[in-house]
């Protein structure tokens, strides 16, 4: 551990004078407060770089259509204060009326800078004012902080482009389906392979392990075109989830590596004892090793979910019709439109992100452990 604060080292380490003078104690205390404040300051300053974009996504998702483009941008979402007049919810305006006083009036409609207003107290009388007269503003909308939850159903119920006949709900469901089967395939296929590399002794094992590690270096682009032609043209799996799911059933270097690292930590004696009792390797694997491996299986599950949920290139290559889009593809398609509806886009992005955040808070340890396992060498 790197220790920058002065206090622990001064307290922990030897040649300590027997008596610390009162003034020296004060100096030390001031220095502690100073380093602690400095540490907090730097951590928070750098932390803003991570936190602000994230918060901005959430805040934008709650803004009304006009508020998104408010200049200069405001942190919190604002919306019109509305009153009910004759069964309709109308936005309130501060209007400077003829005698110079300012009245709160409800706007019925605003056409080309001319507003038709009614007095909420006297809704039968129709008043007409220009919003702006020369440089002077006559009518000003009354705003309040208000989170527009409606953006979420609006975003989810729409398609990525007009008239696609599929909504973000469909994309969401598709993403879930792909992620689910990818997880199943990954768990089923990687565990036996990792077990063989971790525990079985057979000629050629280490060479094969080097080979599987070497495949990490292989860029996807080298296999992409033949695999595309195989799945899309030869097997006719274009525009289905199969090309995204099936390869997961054939193991991959990263998960094998991660699982192997864990399997190696399971005491060899337990397996040996079972071997003496005549258990086959398959029995040892399924009845001893796998039940002891729930933490790492959880890690693989979480990371596979993350990967499948996040994957963009695979769906881009194989999924063509919008009813088969995943969230990643749908979101990209939505963003690629001529006019971008930022609040709904951010709402959809939030919905896309939230399952992962939830997973993270439920399985924080699992996440961190997995990252450490993949990041460590040996």
């Amino acid at each position: 551990m790197t220790n920058t604060s002065a206090s622990p080292r001064d307290l922990n380490l030897p040649p300590q004078p027997k008596h610390i003078s009162q003034s020296e104690k004060h100096v030390r205390k001031i220095r502690d407060i100073f380093t602690s404040t400095l540490s907090h300051g730097v951590i928070i300053f750098v932390g803003m770089f991570f936190a602000i974009p994230f918060l901005w996504m959430l805040l934008t998702a709650f803004k009304s259509d006009q508020d998104v483009f408010h200049s200069p941008p405001r942190w919190l979402p604002y919306d019109n204060v509305r009153v009910e007049v004759n069964g309709e919810k109308l936005p309130l305006y501060n209007v400077r009326v003829e005698d110079g006083t300012i009245k709160e009036l409800a706007a019925v409609k605003i056409v080309e800078g001319v507003g038709t207003f009614v007095d909420p107290a006297n809704p039968d009388e129709i008043l007409t004012y220009k919003l702006q007269q020369g440089k002077e503003r006559i009518a000003e909308a009354i705003m309040e902080v208000s989170f527009r939850w409606q953006n979420f159903p609006d975003a989810m119920n729409r398609g990525s482009r007009p008239g696609v006949g599929a909504s973000f709900w469909v994309y969401f469901r598709n993403s879930l389906i792909v992620a689910f089967f990818t997880i199943i395939g990954t768990l089923v296929s990687n565990t036996p392979v990792a077990y063989a590399f971790a525990r079985l002794k057979f000629p050629g094992r280490d060479l094969l392990f080097m080979l599987i590690l070497a495949t990490m270096m292989l860029p996807f682009q080298v296999t992409m075109i033949p695999i595309y032609l195989l799945f899309n043209d030869y097997l006719g799996w274009g525009d289905t989830f199969l090309p995204l799911i099936i390869p997961a059933f054939f193991a991959n270097a990263w998960d094998v590596f991660l699982l192997r690292q864990f399997f190696k930590t399971i005491p060899e004696e337990m397996c040996d004892a079972a071997r003496v009792d005549g258990a086959s390797e398959w029995q040892i694997f399924t009845q001893i090793v796998l039940p002891l491996s729930t933490p790492v299986l959880a890690t693989v599950t979480v990371f596979t979910f993350l990967y499948a949920w996040n994957d963009f290139t695979g769906p881009l290559l194989f999924l063509h019709s919008p009813r088969n889009f995943t969230m990643a593809l749908g979101l990209q398609d939505f963003q690629g439109q001529k006019t971008i509806i930022w609040n709904q886009l951010m709402a959809a992005a939030t919905v896309f992100t939230v399952p992962i955040i939830i997973a993270f808070f439920f399985a924080q340890k699992t996440f961190i452990q997995g990252i450490k396992l993949t990041g460590s060498k040996e």
């Binding site: 551990m1 790197t2 220790n3 920058t4 604060s5 080292r9 380490l13 540490s39 907090h40 951590i43 932390g47 770089f49 991570f50 974009p53 994230f54 901005w56 996504m57 483009f69 200049s71 200069p72 296929s189 990687n190 036996p192 392979v193 079985l200 057979f202 000629p203 094969l208 080097m210 080979l211 590690l213 990490m216 270096m217 292989l218 860029p219 682009q221 080298v222 296999t223 075109i225 033949p226 695999i227 390869p247 054939f250 193991a251 963009f312 290559l317 969230m327 990643a328 979101l331 963003q335 690629g336 886009l345 951010m346 992100t353 992962i356 993270f360 996440f367 450490k372 990041g375 460590s376």
Partner: protein, 318 residues
Amino acid sequence: MDDLNSTNRKLPFGIKLPAKVVWTKRTKSDLRTGLLFLSPWLIGFFAFTLYPMVVCFFFSFNNYKTKRAPARIGLQNYRDLLVDEKFWIALNNTMYMVIIAVPLGLFASFLCAILLNLKVRGQAFYRVVYFLPSIVPTVAGTILFLWLLNPQVGLVNTLLDRIGIDGPNWMADPNWSKPALILLGMWGMGGTIIIYLSGLQDVPQSLLEAAELDGANWFQRLWHITIPMVSPITLFNLITGMIGMFQYFAQAYVVGGGDNLGRPLDSTLFYSVYLYQNAFLFLKMGYASAMAWILFIIILIFTLLLLKVSDRFTYYAG
């Protein structure tokens, strides 16, 4: 690190070359069991790695276009690539990211890890804040940055404006689009920070204390103990980061809006983007295959070079 009977030089990541095999009935049955356990991967390796690799290699000598019989054209694809201006632009853009973004990201991650390792109250909370962006899906994160870095109404330029800086046009300016993407990458580097953090926690406290007793200051301890101790992590992250960066695609695709790949002015036309364009938009599959193999060879050279150079700079404990 058990059987040390092999006298081979130690390879990176603790990989050892295998010892010689004596074939007995036992080893044969072991082999059978082993291969059975490995079968998911072996089948996958042949079907989804080796076979496509070979086919891709074969394609690269063809003028393969979908729905048309391929014709052998020898090295023509490779010769065309050498004089293809866009190929060099794409390679250049990618090298920019590999050489600048990857080391910069590692350096920043290491600094962040040091910050998060400081003993302050609320440490766990800070760690979550630094980490969270890294699990935001790539497409969502890229779109968010397009919004944040919007030249007119984006938050970043507004804030810059407030302190008197005229913000750049970011993703709309060919000189600023790559730095913008680097910022996006650094925003999501939480995973690397966590890896470094666990590395920092593994640095033996006794070493640091001993150095301190000998009068080494904080910076000297960092330079002579901490950085060497985490050097294997640096190497690992450098290699995986570089391999990933050579394949940089989704972010650039989103920035290009799909039908405007590489915008502005080909400044985000990365190698993989141009490859995708050739394969699936221009349907020049043979040409794209040649690009893919060149990419593979570049990655291979870079990785081996890094491993070779790192021998002198990497410290393996034990």
